[in-house]
Subunit: 175 residues, 2 copies
Amino acid sequence: MVNRRDEVVDAAERILEHEGPDAVTMRRLADELRIQAPSLYKHIAGKTEIEAALQQRALQRLGAVLAGASADLATLVAAYRRWALEHPRLYELSARHSLDRPRLASGVEAAAAAPLLKVTGGNIAAARAIWGLAHGLVDLELANRFPPNADLDAAWAHAINAFAIYCTPQPEGSP
Amino acid sequence: MVNRRDEVVDAAERILEHEGPDAVTMRRLADELRIQAPSLYKHIAGKTEIEAALQQRALQRLGAVLAGASADLATLVAAYRRWALEHPRLYELSARHSLDRPRLASGVEAAAAAPLLKVTGGNIAAARAIWGLAHGLVDLELANRFPPNADLDAAWAHAINAFAIYCTPQPEGSP
DNA sequence: TTGCCGAGGCTAACGTTGTTAGCCTACGGT
DNA sequence: ACCGTAGGCTAACAACGTTAGCCTCGGCAA
């Protein structure tokens, strides 16, 4: 028998995916498990714990996708964007909640960051800049901040082009 | 006498600033105006309208700051970052809610974007990439996604350096 | 076999949230 | 002098997360 706590998180993810964040309610969640809402608290401390668990899942999955895709900068950020657009609610949930590192399983954060570091040749500041760039473009896109007809592919292309100096094997281009 | 609706939005901004987003409650808001909560609905349609109004304010203020600061890319993004860190709650609120353009006063969006466009010499795709970069770095910083000891100044420096090719007067560096 | 004890369900209820319905009052214009 | 409306009020609702307290069943020890 699987851990009941995991079943709760599974159900939360299912509801989030299919019905959106507002539908992820303790009562709706309990319904999904054919249970009454207060019984959920036998398995989890509260809603924030569920959200933290989903956040961790998102981090792990995105990290895995990036690890599989990391050849060069272009394919890496393309993978980032694709995953976020394919799982927008999970991405948003994970991005909008601030990380409480203590609760996070160890290594998750580092694993997610590794592919970025690899592509910058270990330059951690450049990796963070690229991370910010990818997250920012995705976040603005998900939040409907670009005009409907905006050519976002072009924006991504420029972004990749700008950071190419950090990723092609090139001796010194840093401040 | 000023518009009562504006007073409601003013109060909301005040509470948001001093007590955080969770404190922005219809009842708390009514208290601030020495009124009962239901009376608020004589002046505004609902909470979402307040949030939209705050979002618009944020956009206008940030746009104004950027317009005043735009000399080169470095000072522009520095101004962006500074404003966001000085008004984190307003920034978050404005970033996390998707724009409903119909409600937005016309010109606000374009005015906020203008300084960025100026610095890229009219290259709109590059301007969007830079916007994404600045927003992403700020958002990750506000969401506590970087380790506490991270050297974010270095990340910003790399970001600026990467995009310098689009901003220094330089004929052709685009894909 | 008996006894018990904890895991995991249940109902009832609480406080807080946004919001609606409906009433009342005072003031400004005809 | 009237009347309508702007703008306040109280009462109340549904939905939310959460707590308290009870019951039941299954497995294990004596």
